[in-house]
Symmetry: C2
Subunit: 236 residues, 2 copies
């Protein structure tokens, strides 16, 4: 298994995927064409428009991008892909489309047999066990919240610390994740923007410049960048 | 139809429901016992604990509170209720429990035949057509996102304006609601904290101190407090 799971595609003040350039080059080394899954449609843009965004970021790094929708047979495209990147947007729209197209089993199989998979934001979310810790609005009703489940934990991308000065009474991210834990016994990785997980075989490495926050029924713990988080792959 | 739909139960620096006291007294005039629906379980507290919170707020106003779970037959309790209040918490947990208990048709029927219904936050959300514009985490998978649908629009409680100084790359509330509109053609009322809708017969009045924001495929419009928003009840 080889996964690059990024909290966000873009950090403040930079271009799309710019901060991840070196990691991407290293991660997809040996891959010529990456299949792009544009189904999350950020802001409702079309699959074509979104694929162009990805193409502009990957071509200068030496990779060809093909939108999965550009191919006649999407499950066949996943079966033959050398590598896959799923972009961010709305996690419900993304997961719902993957179910509609019947792509979940193919993607899961390919990832488990070693095809490199990269995700950002919603694309990272769906690599987890389920999408129950997304921040997105549930604009469509997918048949299930179970996701690719190639790792046994859930992810909260764009993890945001509570703002001590806020007068807003809506729940903080921490409160929401604790609520998740009341109803589900599963670890949650709160990935701050700029953080990403590099998973290869049984190794889980936290990359980026910020610590990450891991929530479980045993409590909350922070881990610094560079830390090995291999225990995340253990199933309880 | 008689509805009091509040964005939040609590405004900053005040006690639970304190800012709504006068409206509540007027709204439930003539009612002795209010049936409380505690299923949204904010922070995962129990139904009993949550019912105590509601009781402490309503008893000083002259109303008895009975938790719907305290009665042997929940659908029968809704059938006989003089008035219902649904508290906030997690909208997915709330809606899922209403489906599990088979309470949706009873509640809808009673509201449509005039029983006063009050909601705050998640309890307001479920009065709308669907819960697709909740801010909550989808910690449980309800069989459908369709809600009580006693009004034809959706509600976004705790509506929050974009923070121009933010460096966070997660979507603003406005972006999320616009995304909803790409996939659904339905009006969305963004209710800021402290705002509430008083709906009686064909009248929709915006109460509170803040303007409200209404989103549709025709654009975004702000309406000041005191404004009549009867057009919201029209189905397209």
């Amino acid at each position: 298994m080889k996964l690059l799971l990024a909290s966000t595609s873009t950090v403040h003040g930079q271009k799309y995927l710019e901060y991840l350039k070196d990691d991407i080059k290293e991660f997809f080394k040996g891959v010529k064409t990456i299949v792009f899954i544009p189904y999350a449609r950020p802001g409702g843009i079309t699959w074509d428009e979104y694929t162009e965004v990805a193409r502009k970021a990957f071509e200068p790094l030496g990779f060809d991008i093909r939108g999965v929708h550009e191919m006649d047979d999407a499950p066949e495209a996943i079966k033959r892909a050398e590598g896959v990147f799923t972009g961010g947007g709305n996690t419900f729209v993304l997961l719902n489309t993957l179910y509609e197209k019947g792509l979940i089993p193919q993607l899961r199989d390919r990832i488990l047999s070693g095809m490199p998979y990269m995700g950002s934001s919603a694309g990272t979310n769906i690599a987890g066990a389920g999408i129950e810790t997304t921040n997105d609005m549930p604009v469509l009703h997918p048949p299930s919240f179970e996701a690719l489940h190639v790792v046994p934990f859930n992810i909260n991308p764009h993890y945001l610390d509570p703002d001590p000065g806020s007068k807003h009474m809506g729940e903080t991210r921490e409160t929401r994740i604790k609520e998740f834990l009341v109803f589900n016994n599963r670890k949650v990785v709160g990935l701050r923007e700029g953080s990403h997980l590099w998973i290869e075989g049984g190794n889980v490495e936290l990359r980026g410049t910020l610590p990450t926050r891991i929530f479980s029924r045993d409590g909350i713990k922070e881990y610094p960048p560079g830390e090995k988080l291999n225990f995340l792959l253990e199933t309880d």
